[in-house]
C-alpha cells in the first residue's frame, strides 16, 4: 500500500489528511489491548466477591474499615505516586516482605508438621554439614588428589546421610562382633550419622535445634550479605546478634502471647529478619523513608477498625475464604470444606521440582551458554538441543502428563498419583522454561567479566562459579520463580498421573498419594451445589491466585532491583 500511485507528486497531494481514520484505528487498538485485561479483571472481581462476600457484612462495618484502612492507604498511594516515587517502592517492599515471609513461614511450618519432625530436620542438616565438611577438609588436606576426592564426594553423603546398605561385608563384621560377644547394634547394616543422631538418648529441645539449624544459618547468611554490602564486619555481626536475641526473646516471651516457639522462630527467620535488614537500610540511606508509613498505617487502620466495629457491634462479613478454609480438609458439606491437604501436596510437589528441575535446568543453561561448541559434530548436536528445547516449551501440558504416566507409573512402577511422580512430571514440563530463562540470564553477563577472570588465570569452571553464576543469579531466580508459578497452577499433568481427586489427610511422605491445589479446585468444579460453585470453588481459586501473585510480585521485585541496564 505504501507504494501505490507512484505517478502523483507526493502522497496525499490531492486530499486533506484525514485524522479521523487514524484516531479511530488507535482507539480500536487500545480497546483490543484492554479487552483481555478488562474481561479477566471483571471475572476476578466476581470470584473475589464470591470468595469474600463483603456485602454480607453490616454497612457500618464496611464504612468503618473504609474510613480506617482504605481511605488512608489510598491517600498514601496517591501521594507516593504523584510526589515521592522512591517512597512508593519502599512502601511496596515493606508491605510485601512480611507477606512473602509469612508465606515461607507457612510453607516451613507445613513441612515440620507433615513431612519431618524438627529432630529429623536437625539430624539431616547436621549430617549434610558434616558431609560437606569432609569434602572441604579433603580438598584442603590433599588438593592434588582429584580422583580420590571424587570418591570422597560420593562416599561422605552416603555415610552421613543414607548409611551403608546391607552388604556381605556388614554381615561379616556384625557376625564377627557377635561371635566375640559384642553387640554394636549394627544389625547387618551400618547406620548413618543422621540415624545415629536420631537414636541419641538425649536431644536438645525443639526450639534449640531450630535455632541452631535454621535461625542461625539464615541469620549468618544475612549477616554475611550485610558485611559484604557495607564492608563492615561489625554490622554483619550485629545482624546475627540481634536476630538471635529477638529469636531467644520470643522463645521466652512467646508462650505469654500464645505463639508457639517453633512458629515464632520461623517468623523471625523469614519475616522479621529480612524486614529488619531492609528497613534499617532504608533509614540509613534516608531515601523514601516516608514509604515506611504505609504498612504502619495499614496495621493501625486494621486495629482501630477492629476496636471501633467491636465497640459499635457491627458484624463482619462471612467469607468462604477464611482461616478454617485454609486449615481443614475438604468435605461433602461446603461449610466445612478446606484446602489444607492440597496445599501441603502443592508445597511438597514444589520441593521435588526445585530439587530436580532447578539443578538440571541451570546446568543445561550453563553448558549451552558457556561450553557449547559452535562447529563440528558437537556443534550440530548443540543446535539440535537448542531447537529441541524451544519445541519442548510448546508441547501441551497434557502430553507431559502422559509421559509421566507412561514413564514413572507404567515403566518404573512408582505409586500412581504420588507426589514424587507429580513433581517429576510437572518438573519436566517447566524444564525448558527454566533452561531458556537461565540462558537469558547467563547471556546478559558481559563478556568483559569473563575475560577479566580468565586474565587472572582462572579456569573455565572457576570463572563460571565465581563470576558468571553470582552475576546471573538474580535473573535465574526470577525465571525460576516464574516457572514455579506455572508449575503450581498446572492441572492436566496431575490428572494424567492420577493425583487424588481429594484427600482428607495431608501427605507425609513423597511417595504418598496426594492432591494438589489445582487438582482439588478441579474436583470442586464438578460439584453442582451452588454453595460449592459460588463459594468453596471461588475461595480455592482466590487462594491459588494469591499464592501466584505473591510469587510473581517477588520475581518482579528481584528483576527490577538487579536488572542489568543496557
Amino acid at each position: 500500500m505504501a507504494t501505490r500511485e507512484p505517478e502523483t507528486g507526493w502522497h496525499g497531494e490531492n486530499s486533506d489528511v484525514n485524522h479521523l481514520r487514524g484516531r479511530a484505528f488507535e482507539a480500536t487498538c487500545l480497546a483490543a489491548t484492554a479487552f483481555g485485561l478488562v474481561s479477566v479483571m471483571l471475572l476476578l472481581l466476581f470470584v473475589a466477591n464470591d470468595a469474600f462476600r463483603p456485602f454480607s457484612a453490616d454497612a457500618g462495618w464496611l464504612a468503618t474499615y473504609a474510613a480506617t484502612v482504605v481511605v488512608p492507604l489510598a491517600a498514601l498511594a496517591v501521594y507516593y505516586y504523584r510526589l515521592d516515587e522512591p517512597a512508593g517502592e519502599v512502601a511496596y517492599v515493606t508491605s510485601g516482605l512480611p507477606v512473602v515471609g509469612l508465606l515461607l513461614t507457612g510453607g516451613f511450618a507445613v513441612l515440620f508438621i507433615e513431612l519431618l519432625s524438627v529432630l529429623e530436620w536437625f539430624a539431616l542438616l547436621i549430617s549434610l554439614v558434616v558431609a560437606g565438611g569432609l569434602i572441604v577438609a579433603h580438598g584442603r588436606l590433599r588438593p592434588k588428589a582429584a580422583l580420590e576426592r571424587l570418591g570422597v564426594v560420593f562416599l561422605s553423603p552416603v555415610i552421613t546421610v543414607f548409611g551403608l546398605p546391607p552388604t556381605r561385608f556388614n554381615w561379616f563384621v556384625t557376625d564377627a562382633a557377635a561371635a566375640l560377644g559384642l553387640d554394636f547394634g549394627l544389625y547387618y547394616r551400618v547406620i548413618s550419622l543422621r540415624e545415629a543422631i536420631m537414636l541419641l538418648p538425649f536431644v536438645p529441645t525443639d526450639w534449640a535445634m531450630l535455632l541452631l539449624t535454621l535461625v542461625l544459618p539464615v541469620a549468618g547468611a544475612a549477616g554475611w550479605f550485610v558485611k559484604q554490602r557495607r564492608e563492615s564486619r561489625r554490622d554483619g555481626l550485629a545482624v546475627v546478634g540481634m536476630t538471635t536475641a529477638v529469636a531467644v526473646l520470643g522463645v521466652v516471651a512467646g508462650p505469654l502471647l500464645g505463639i508457639g516457639t517453633d512458629v515464632w522462630l520461623l517468623i523471625v527467620t523469614f519475616a522479621v529478619l529480612p524486614l529488619g535488614v531492609y528497613v534499617e537500610g532504608v533509614i540509613r540511606r534516608g531515601e523514601g523513608v516516608c514509604g515506611l508509613a504505609f504498612p504502619v498505617v495499614a496495621v493501625l487502620g486494621v486495629v482501630v477498625g477492629g476496636v471501633v466495629t467491636g465497640a459499635l457491634g457491627f458484624a463482619g462479613p462471612d467469607p468462604w475464604l477464611d482461616w478454617g478454609f485454609l486449615t481443614s480438609a475438604t468435605s461433602r458439606t461446603a461449610a466445612d470444606a478446606g484446602i489444607y491437604p492440597a496445599m501441603v501436596g502443592s508445597v511438597m510437589m514444589i520441593i521435588v521440582i526445585v530439587l530436580t528441575t532447578f539443578p538440571v535446568g541451570v546446568g543445561a543453561a550453563i553448558y549451552l551458554e558457556e561450553y557449547a561448541p559452535s562447529q563440528g559434530l558437537m556443534g550440530k548436536f548443540v543446535t539440535l538441543i537448542e531447537i529441541n528445547i524451544g519445541n519442548l516449551a510448546g508441547v501441551p501440558s497434557v502430553v507431559y502428563g502422559l509421559l509421566g504416566l507412561a514413564l514413572f507409573i507404567r515403566v518404573l512402577q512408582w505409586p500412581q498419583g504420588s507426589i514424587i511422580v507429580a513433581g517429576l512430571a510437572v518438573g519436566l514440563l517447566i524444564l525448558p522454561i527454566v533452561i531458556i530463562s537461565a540462558q537469558e540470564a547467563i547471556r546478559s553477563v558481559p563478556d568483559s567479566f569473563r575475560q577479566a577472570s580468565y586474565g587472572m588465570g582462572a579456569t573455565r569452571w572457576q570463572t563460571i562459579r565465581q563470576v558468571v553464576l553470582p552475576e546471573a543469579l538474580p535473573g535465574i531466580l526470577t525465571g525460576t520463580i516464574l516457572a514455579l508459578g506455572r508449575a503450581i497452577g498446572e492441572t492436566a499433568p496431575l490428572l494424567m498421573i492420577g493425583a487424588a481427586a481429594s484427600v482428607r489427610l495431608a501427605p507425609n511422605s513423597f511417595f504418598d498419594v496426594a492432591s494438589m491445589m489445582p487438582r482439588q479446585i478441579f474436583s470442586w468444579s464438578s460439584e453442582l451445589d451452588p454453595s460449592f460453585r459460588h463459594g468453596v470453588l471461588a475461595a480455592g481459586v482466590i487462594t491459588l491466585l494469591a499464592v501466584l501473585l505473591v510469587m510473581n510480585a517477588t520475581a518482579i521485585v528481584i528483576r527490577n532491583r538487579y536488572q542489568r541496564t543496557g
Binding site: 505504501a2 546446568g363 501441551p396
Partner: protein, 310 residues
C-alpha cells in the same frame, strides 16, 4: 576448591584440575542432553502403546471414523478432531485480531507509561492457571451467555473457546510486538518522508514488514489452543460429537469433547478396557505430532524474519 593457594598451582602439573574441568563439562553436557532424552522418551513411550493400539484398530478406521465410543470399542478420531477444530477456530477468531491490534498499539502508539502498565498486565493474563480460566468459563461466562439470550448448554464449546481465546491473546501480542519492534526505524522514516500518516505507515509499512513474525505468532497460538486441556475439560463437556454442517451456528452452543479432554476422561474413567486405555496414547501421539509440527513451522518462519532485519 576455590580455597586452594594459587601459588603452587601455576607451576604444578594440571592433571587433577584438568580432569575436574573435564568432569564438570561432561556433567553439564548431560544436563543439556536431558532435554533430548525427554523428547525421545515422549516419542518412544507414546509410540509403544500407540503401536499396540494400531495393531488392533486399523489406523485408517481410527483417522476417518466418525464415532468415538469407548464402551463399544469404536474409536474414530473425527468427533474429537471436530471439538479441537472448533475450539481452535473460535479462539483464533477472538485472539488473532485482538492480539495483533494490541501488538500494534504497544509497538507503535503506546506511551512509555502506558506500556509499563499494559505489558505486565498482559503477562499476568498468560500466568493465570488454565483451570482457573475453565472455572471462569463454566461458572461465570456460560450463565452470562444464557442471560444475554444465547441458547447455550451448561457445557458448551463457545464459552470454553472464548476463554481459550483470551488466554492466547498475550502469546500473539507479545511475539507480534517483538516482530514489529524489530522493524527498522528507517522504514518508518521512509514512509513518513513520503508524506504518509501514522496510520498508513503502521498498516502499510510496519505490519507487512513484520508479517512473518506475526504469522509465526499465529501458528504458535493455534498450537497452544489445540493443546489446551483444562479449559475444555472443565467447560466444554464430555460428549464427542461430529460437526453439524446443516446448522453451523448450533455447533457453538453444544458441548464437544476435544482430543485433550478425551484423553483426560479416558484416563480417569473407572473401567476402561486395555484397548481403550491404549487409545489414550494414540490420541496423545497425534496431538504431540500436530503441535510439534506447528511449533517447528513457527520457529522456521520466525527465524526467517530475524535474518531479514538483523
Amino acid at each position: 576448591m576455590s580455597t586452594e593457594t594459587p601459588g603452587p598451582d601455576i607451576t604444578s602439573r594440571p592433571t587433577g584440575r584438568a580432569a575436574r574441568e573435564r568432569m564438570y563439562r561432561y556433567v553439564l553436557l548431560l544436563c543439556a542432553a536431558a532435554s533430548i532424552l525427554v523428547t525421545v522418551s515422549i516419542v518412544v513411550l507414546l509410540a509403544r502403546d500407540a503401536i499396540t493400539f494400531f495393531t488392533l484398530v486399523n489406523p485408517v478406521d481410527f483417522f476417518t471414523g466418525t464415532e468415538f465410543l469407548i464402551s463399544r470399542n469404536v474409536y474414530g478420531l473425527l468427533p474429537l478432531l471436530s471439538g479441537t477444530l472448533l475450539v481452535t477456530v473460535i479462539s483464533a477468531v477472538i485472539a488473532l485480531p485482538t492480539g495483533v491490534a494490541a501488538a500494534v498499539y504497544l509497538s507503535e502508539y503506546a506511551s512509555d507509561q502506558m506500556r509499563s502498565v499494559l505489558k505486565p498486565g498482559l503477562e499476568i493474563l498468560a500466568g493465570i492457571p488454565t483451570v482457573v480460566y475453565g472455572i471462569f468459563a463454566l461458572v461465570y461466562v456460560t450463565p452470562f451467555l444464557q442471560t444475554i439470550g444465547l441458547p447455550v448448554n451448561t457445557f458448551n464449546i463457545l464459552s470454553a473457546s472464548i476463554m481459550v481465546g483470551i488466554m492466547i491473546i498475550p502469546m500473539v501480542s507479545s511475539l507480534s510486538e517483538d516482530a514489529m519492534s524489530s522493524v527498522p526505524d528507517s522504514l518508518r522514516q521512509a514512509g513518513y518522508g513520503m508524506g504518509a500518516t501514522k496510520f498508513e505507515v503502521t498498516t502499510g509499512v510496519v505490519v507487512p514488514a513484520a508479517a512473518s513474525g506475526i504469522f509465526s505468532s499465529f501458528i504458535l497460538a493455534l498450537s497452544r489452543a489445540i493443546g489446551e486441556t483444562m479449559i475444555v475439560v472443565v467447560a466444554a463437556g464430555s460428549r464427542p460429537r461430529m460437526l453439524n454442517f446443516s446448522d453451523p451456528l448450533a455447533n457453538l452452543f453444544q458441548g464437544y469433547q476435544p482430543m485433550t479432554a478425551a484423553m483426560v476422561q479416558i484416563n480417569s474413567a473407572d473401567s476402561v478396557s486395555q484397548l481403550g486405555f491404549t487409545s489414550l496414547f494414540a490420541i496423545g501421539l497425534t496431538l504431540f505430532v500436530i503441535t510439534f509440527l506447528l511449533n517447528l513451522l513457527s520457529n522456521r518462519i520466525a527465524a526467517r524474519y530475524r535474518e531479514e532485519y538483523e
